[in-house]
Symmetry: C2
Subunit: 269 residues, 2 copies
C-alpha cells in the first residue's frame, strides 16, 4: 500500500466507518422487529483489502444494506492504464416494507490512482409509487444545506447531475425525485474537497430520518403493495442496466453479494 | 421495404406467426385457470413495422410472454454503418408458478441489412432451484434431434455456444442447464439454413412440453417457492446485465414493455 499517502487514506476510512456506524445505529432505532443489521466481512479477490456488508431484513426495513469497502487493486476497472488503485466508500440502499416510505440511496467514495485522486458521492430519493411533495422538498433542502457552505452553484449543479445520472432511458423518466450526485471532484484544494464530501455524508441522516418518521406511520393496502413491487422492478432495472457502481463492481471483480445486496427483497414485473 | 426480397421476408414472417400460434395454443392446454394469452400489438417508433406481445398471467403460467416482432429500421443498432435493416423473430420466456417446473427461453430471429442476411436462435432451460437429470437429458436430446439432419457437428457446437452465451460472469456459473444457441448463420445455402432454423422452431414444443407434463404435477412448499424467487432474481440479473436481446432492444428503441415482459412476475434478492 506504499504507493499512496497512507495518512489520508486512514482518515478517509476512519470517517467512512464512523459514518457507517452512525447510519446503522439510527436506522436500527426505526426497526419495529427484533431484526438488526448483520455485518459480513469479505475479501477483495483481485487485490488486497475488502469490505463489510451490513444487511438488515426486518419488518420496517424489509431489506437495507450499508456497505463499507476499501480495496487496493492493480488495474483500475475500465481503464487502459495499468498501475495500482485504491477505492474506498460507503454505499447504502433501503427497501422499506411500507409502500409509503421511499427508498433512499446514499454513496460517498474516494479513489486514488498513481496520477490522481478524487471524491464522489451523493444521495437520492425514490418513492415507490407514493411521492410526497413535503418529503421531496425536505430532502432537497437538506442537500442544499450540506452544499451551500461551498458556494451557491454547487447544489444546483449536483442536483442537475443527479437528474441526469438517475434517468432511465428506456422508461424515459427519472428513477425517483432526485437528489445530488458528484464524481471526479478534485479542485486542488484538498481540505475543501474533503470537507464538502464529509458534509454530504454528515447530512444524509438529516435528509432521510424525518421522512421515515412521517411515512412509517402511514397505513397501506395490498394495492399499494403491488404498486410498490412494480416500482421496485424499475429500480432493479436501473441498477442492473445502467448503474455505474454496479458495473464498476462487476468489472473490478468485486464481491457479487456485496454489489447486489442493494437489489430489492421482492420485486414484480 | 423495397430494399429487401419481400417474398423471403414474407415466408419467414408467416412461419414465425404460425409457430407463435402453435406455441400459444399448446401452452394454453396446460393452464389450470381461465387465464389465456392476451395479444397486444405495438408499433416500432424508429422505423416501420412493430410486433405482437402475447402475455398470460395465470395459475400454471405465473407469467409467460411470447413475442413476435418484425421491424424495418434505418440504422442497425450497434453498427457504425447507416442503411436499412429488417429484423423479425419470435421470443418467449415462461415463469411457472410451480417451482419444480423450469423456466424455458426460446428465440428464433432473421435479420437483413443491405449487405447480408442471417439466421439465429436457440432454446435453453433454467430450473429454478430444482434440476431433474431426466428433464435435462430430454431437452438436449430433442435439441440434438432438431439439428442432427444438418450434420453431426452442429448440435455439439450450438450446445457449446449456449453454455458460453448463458454464462453469468459475476456468479461464475451458467444460467441454467443449457440448450442450443446460434447466430449469424449464413452458409450460402439458403434452403439449408432456413430449414435448420425452422427445425429449431419446430422442435421447441417437443423439447419442453413433456417436461411440463411431468413437473406441473409435483407438489411444492413455501421453502421451494423462496428458492424459486431467488433463482428468478439471478435470471433477471442475466437478462438485464448481459442479454444481447435486451440490450439490442434498448439500443434499437424497441418497445420497453415488449423487451421487459420476459422479466419474472416476482423475484427476490
Amino acid at each position: 500500500m506504499s504507493e499512496f499517502p497512507s495518512s489520508r487514506r486512514e482518515s478517509v476510512v476512519l470517517y467512512l466507518k464512523s459514518l457507517r456506524d452512525r447510519i446503522v445505529a439510527d436506522f436500527e432505532t426505526l426497526e419495529a422487529s427484533q431484526a438488526r443489521f448483520e455485518r459480513s466481512p469479505w475479501d477483495y479477490q483481485k487485490g488486497s483489502g475488502g469490505g463489510e456488508m451490513s444487511v438488515i431484513r426486518g419488518e420496517t426495513f424489509e431489506k437495507a444494506a450499508v456497505n463499507w469497502s476499501g480495496v487496493l487493486g492493480t488495474k483500475f476497472p475500465g481503464s487502459d492504464a495499468d498501475g495500482p488503485f485504491f477505492a474506498t466508500g460507503v454505499s447504502l440502499i433501503t427497501h422499506m416494507k411500507n409502500p409509503k416510505a421511499p427508498t433512499v440511496h446514499f454513496n460517498i467514495r474516494y479513489l486514488e490512482t498513481p496520477e490522481k485522486f478524487w471524491w464522489g458521492g451523493g444521495f437520492d430519493l425514490t418513492p415507490m409509487g407514493f411521492p410526497y411533495a413535503e418529503d421531496t422538498a425536505h430532502f432537497h433542502a437538506v442537500a442544499e444545506k450540506a452544499l451551500s457552505p461551498f458556494g451557491p452553484d454547487i447544489y444546483p449543479s449536483y442536483k442537475e447531475r443527479a437528474a441526469e445520472y438517475f434517468y432511465i432511458p428506456h422508461r424515459k423518466r427519472e428513477r425517483g425525485v432526485g437528489g445530488i450526485f458528484f464524481d471526479h471532484l478534485n479542485t486542488g484544494d484538498l481540505e475543501r474537497d474533503f470537507a464538502l464530501w464529509k458534509s454530504v455524508g454528515d447530512h444524509f441522516l438529516e435528509a432521510i430520518m424525518p421522512i421515515y418518521g412521517r411515512r412509517l406511520r402511514e397505513t397501506w393496502s395490498e394495492a399499494d403493495r403491488r404498486l410498490q413491487l412494480e416500482r421496485r422492478g424499475h429500480y432493479a432495472e436501473f441498477n442492473l442496466v445502467y448503474d455505474r457502481g454496479t458495473r464498476f463492481g462487476f468489472l473490478s471483480g468485486g464481491n457479487p453479494e456485496a454489489i447486489l445486496c442493494s437489489l430489492p427483497p421482492l420485486a414484480s414485473w
